[in-house]
């Protein structure tokens, strides 16, 4: 959501450089950001009859008056211009939100970690509003009611429901997290996902294998992708979890953009680095909180896992003959002009970084297939 906004600012006339666009977003008035989130949601435009209803006229008119409401900056109708919930999950696993909470606390209460220049003060205003629920007129995007007081708990709930996963850490003071674990959740997401990554690696290895033993299995890739699609979409019936996904993508997109370059807050705290993970480690050390040791992998796969799972959910692979879309990196010979690039490069990045982040070897089977059993499993 936030990275996509930066991209649209770069592309819309008169155009901006990447760093200027990022700076414009990070120093924006929080109200302008909320208005833009509203426009992104309205552009998504749920199909007739689906809940929730389109934005009311007054809300739409108000949203159009924001700084980021110009032509070319607002996503086109029908666009789901925010990242998948998995993007937010892998980024939140770096512990970036808890570190930013401490940064805001430090700046708001003293000068121990540095003096905040004007740009950083604007960033603090927006961070406090977007991430930690300071007052804003569009509370719909944050869990700020008395029923859902903790936005982190709300995101944990969404990760658990959609992917059956939990964050790798507890509360800020290392206590077990407290959130509602829904009964209906996708508990088999991770095994399915990792099995698909394993099969995709087999396929990638055999892309040019025409004569040797070939372990590529397009039918299995298709069936695994289909099973994942059904599972992920089961939690999204009638637009369920979409608003939570947009809210999470906004929060984590903000955090990612903050660390994407040596932004004002990074400079003011002396946390400069050459990539996101280094900057996060440096800033974390200022506030006495270490990020996840695999943060580099988390940052590296965030965008790719988003596109990967969006493509799976959208049903792009509708048969074994189209399994190549998930493992080729360029359109096959003879593809029509303008054909989209398949997502093999993204799949490969996810395989590499997911394996690094989880410590699981996705390129070999932990246990070989048992061939001695000659009967089907007995029906219990």
């Amino acid at each position: 959501m936030i990275q996509q906004l930066v991209r649209r600012l770069m592309m819309a006339p008169p155009g901006m450089s990447r760093n200027d666009a990022a700076h414009a977003v990070l120093t924006a008035d929080p109200l302008d950001l909320f208005l833009h989130v509203e426009q992104v949601w309205s552009a998504f435009n749920p199909p007739p009859g689906a809940a929730p209803p389109l934005a009311a006229p007054a809300r739409t008119a108000l949203a159009g008056g924001g700084r980021f409401g110009g032509a070319g900056v607002v996503p086109p109708a029908g666009a789901r211009a925010w990242d998948h919930l998995a993007y937010s999950y892998v980024l939140e696993n770096t512990r970036v939100v808890q570190i930013l909470r401490r940064v805001v606390q430090e700046f708001r209460s003293g000068e121990r970690i540095g003096l905040a220049h004007v740009d950083t003060q604007r960033w603090l205003d927006a961070t406090e509003a977007l991430l930690f629920g300071s007052a804003n007129p569009f509370a719909r995007w944050l869990s700020s009611s008395s029923i859902r007081p903790d936005s982190e708990a709300q995101r944990r709930n969404a990760y658990f429901r959609e992917m059956g996963v939990e964050l790798a850490f507890g509360t800020e003071d290392n206590q077990p997290p407290s959130y509602v674990k829904a009964e209906a959740h996708n508990g088999s997401f991770v095994p399915l996902f990792e099995e698909l990554l394993f099969e995709l690696w087999q396929a990638i290895m055999n892309v040019r294998n025409l004569v040797g033993a070939n372990s590529q299995d397009n039918d299995r890739i298709y069936r695994l992708a289909e099973a994942l699609q059904y599972e992920l979409r089961a939690r999204r019936l009638f637009e369920a979890l979409d608003r939570e996904e947009l809210a999470a993508a906004t929060v984590l997109g903000w955090a990612e953009l903050t660390f994407s370059y040596n932004s004002p807050v990074i400079s003011d705290t002396g946390s400069e680095g050459t990539n996101e993970a280094t900057r996060l480690i440096n800033l974390g050390s200022k506030v006495n909180m270490a990020p996840h040791s695999k943060s580099s992998s988390m940052f590296s796969m965030a965008a790719e896992i988003s596109l990967f799972l969006r493509a799976i959910e959208a049903g792009v692979v509708s048969g074994p003959e189209f399994a190549w879309v998930l493992y080729l990196e360029a359109p096959p010979p003879g593809a029509p002009a303008g054909a989209p690039a398949p997502i093999g490069a993204e799949s490969r990045r996810v395989i590499t970084e997911w394996a690094a982040a989880t410590g699981r070897d996705l390129k070999n089977r932990a246990k070989p297939v048992e061939t001695s059993r000659r009967q089907l499993v007995r029906v219990q």
Partner: protein
């Protein structure tokens, strides 16, 4: 007599050590020569055996891959739309303003 024998043994041992050192030097020189010959003749050897010709014949195989069914138009449209919706800036260091500034700084 004993002194004569001892001196003779000592001379023999010294001569052996000298011979061994000389042999080692010869072997090292031979090894260097063999390596030089092998390197000097590596390319001509390959050419003489028609390797280049074979390689040229095999070159088209680099792009050979199993035929696949083209994406169906609706799926292609969905994937294009997904890529457009999620388009984001590239934050790798290539072309980065900070990198250019850093290079300029190092230059001066």
């Amino acid at each position: 007599m004993a002194n004569t024998t001892s001196a003779s043994r000592s001379r023999t041992a010294a001569a052996s050590r000298s011979n061994i050192a000389s042999l080692e030097r010869t072997v090292e020189a031979l090894q260097r020569t063999v390596l030089l010959i092998a390197e000097a003749n590596a390319v001509p050897n390959l050419l003489a055996n028609g390797f280049e010709e074979i390689s040229m014949k095999l070159e088209p195989l680099r792009n050979l891959s199993p035929a696949v069914a083209p994406m169906r138009p609706p799926a292609a449209r969905i994937l294009l739309q997904l890529r457009r919706d999620l388009d984001r800036p590239d934050w790798s260091l290539d072309g980065d303003r900070e990198l250019r500034e850093q290079l300029l700084h190092e230059q001066y």
